[in-house]
C-alpha cells in the first residue's frame, strides 16, 4: 500500500512509519512507532515536516529551526542504511514508502 485510501483528492499522500528514540517519544508523548502522512514523494525533509506538524514539541529537537540541518547527535536510518548524510530531499527507499520498513531517527550513543 503506497498511498492512503482517502480518495482521489489525496492520492499523493503516503503513510510512513517512523521510530523515534526514547527521549523524543517522551517529548512527543507517544508510546511507540508513529505514522505520518506525507504529501508527495516521501523524503527525509517531508517525513520530518509531517512529524513536526503532528508533534510540535519535536520542532527544533531533530533539526535546526532555521537551517533544517540535522542536529549532530541525531541520525536517520532507512532499511538499515544510514541516510543521515544523503541529501534530505532525496526520495526514501520503496520499502519505507510502502510501509514495509520503518524510517528510524536514532540518537547517538552519548549517554555512556
Amino acid at each position: 500500500m503506497s498511498t492512503a485510501s482517502t480518495g482521489a483528492a489525496r492520492e499523493s499522500v503516503t503513510r510512513v512509519r517512523v521510530a523515534l528514540p526514547a527521549h523524543l517519544r517522551d517529548l512527543a508523548g507517544v508510546g511507540g512507532e508513529v505514522q505520518v502522512e506525507v504529501e508527495g514523494e516521501p523524503t527525509v525533509t517531508r517525513v520530518l515536516d509531517a512529524l513536526e506538524a503532528d508533534h510540535p514539541p519535536l520542532r527544533g529537537t531533530i533539526r535546526s529551526h532555521e537551517s533544517g540541518a540535522r542536529r549532530p547527535f541525531m541520525r536517520y536510518f532507512a532499511c538499515g542504511e544510514d541516510v543521515s548524510h544523503e541529501p534530505p530531499d532525496q526520495p526514501l527507499p520503496e520499502a519505507v514508502r510502502s510501509g514495509a520498513e520503518v524510517f528510524r531517527v536514532l540518537g547517538a550513543i552519548a549517554g555512556g
Binding site: L24, T61, R71, A108
Partner: protein
Amino acid sequence: MKGSPADPERLWAAQWTDWHGQVVQRSDDGGRTWTTVGNEFSYEGEPGTHQWYDGTPHPWEFKRVWHLEPSHDDRDTVFAGVEDAALFRSTDGGDTWSEMDGLRTHTTGQAWQPGAGGLCLHTILIDPSRAERMYVAVSAAGAFRTDDGGETWKPINRGLHSEFLPDPEAEVGHCVHRIAHHPSRPDTLFMQKHWDVCRSDDAGEQWTEVSGNLPSDFGFPIVVHAHQPETIYVVPILSDGEHYPPEGKLRVYRSRTGGNEWEALTEGLPQEHFRQNILRDAMSVDTLDPCGIYFGTTGGAVYASADGGDTWTAIAEHLPRVMSVEAQTLP
C-alpha cells in the same frame, strides 16, 4: 527552573541535551503536569562574531538556555538568558521568543569571550519597583544594566578586578558568576565573581570587594535573605580548577553586614571529604519568616535550612547533578 512571582502555580524549566537541543517547558499546576512551549531562539539580524577563547572571531550561535526569569507582574512574560550570550523575551507564555538585541549588539559585543562554561548569559535581575531597569550577567563579559526596558545597555563593571585580564580593570571581560539583590533595595547589588565577592550601592556604577574573611572568595551562587537586605549567603569553593569547598567541609557563609564579615554555617552539613560543587542556579530562598534557604550539590543532594542558615537538613539525596533549585512560596 523558575517560578512565576505573578502566578505561584506557573513554573518554567529549560532542558538541554546534545541529543535534542533546547526544550522549554511550562507548568500551570505547580509542576504536576508540563507542556512543551517554544524553543526557537533566533538572533535578530546578522549576528556577527564574538571572540573565541584564543581571541579569534567566532560566529554568534545559539546553543542553549542558561536561565529563565519570569516577570514580576505578568504571568505570560518571561526572559531567557542564552548561550551564546543574548537575552530573549516571550510575552505569550513561552510560545514565541524575540531577542532583545540591544544587549548583544552593544559596542563591546565583538570583544566578549566565553568563560569555561561557554559565552553564557546566566543571570537576569528585574528591578521590582521599576521594570524598565534590568541587570544581566554574562560569563565572561561582565554585568550590564538597562534603564529603558532593554533598548540600550551599559556595562557596569567599574571597581571589579580580574587578574586573568590583560587589563584587570577592563570595561568588559569579567567572569561574573551571579548577581543578586533584595526587592526592597534593588540598587544594592551583591556579586559572586570568578574570584571576589563584591557589592554595589548605586545600581552597579561602582563595585567594592567585600570578600573579607571568607576562606576562598571563589564560588558560584549568592543569595539575599528574604527579610534582611544586608544578610547574604555564599558557598566558597577552592578555585577555578578545584570545584569543591576548602578542607572538604561544606560550609555556607553568611554575612549579616552585607559582606566583609562572614560566619561559617555548618550544622547539619558534611564536614569531611566533601568534594562537590554548588552551581550558580542551585541556591534559592523562600519568603517565609523565618527565611528558608535551599541549595543543591553536583553530587545530588539538596540541603534546606528553615532558620536562615543556622541549621541544615538534607531534604533530598542521591539525585543526579543538581542544576537548579527554586523555592516557590505558596499562598
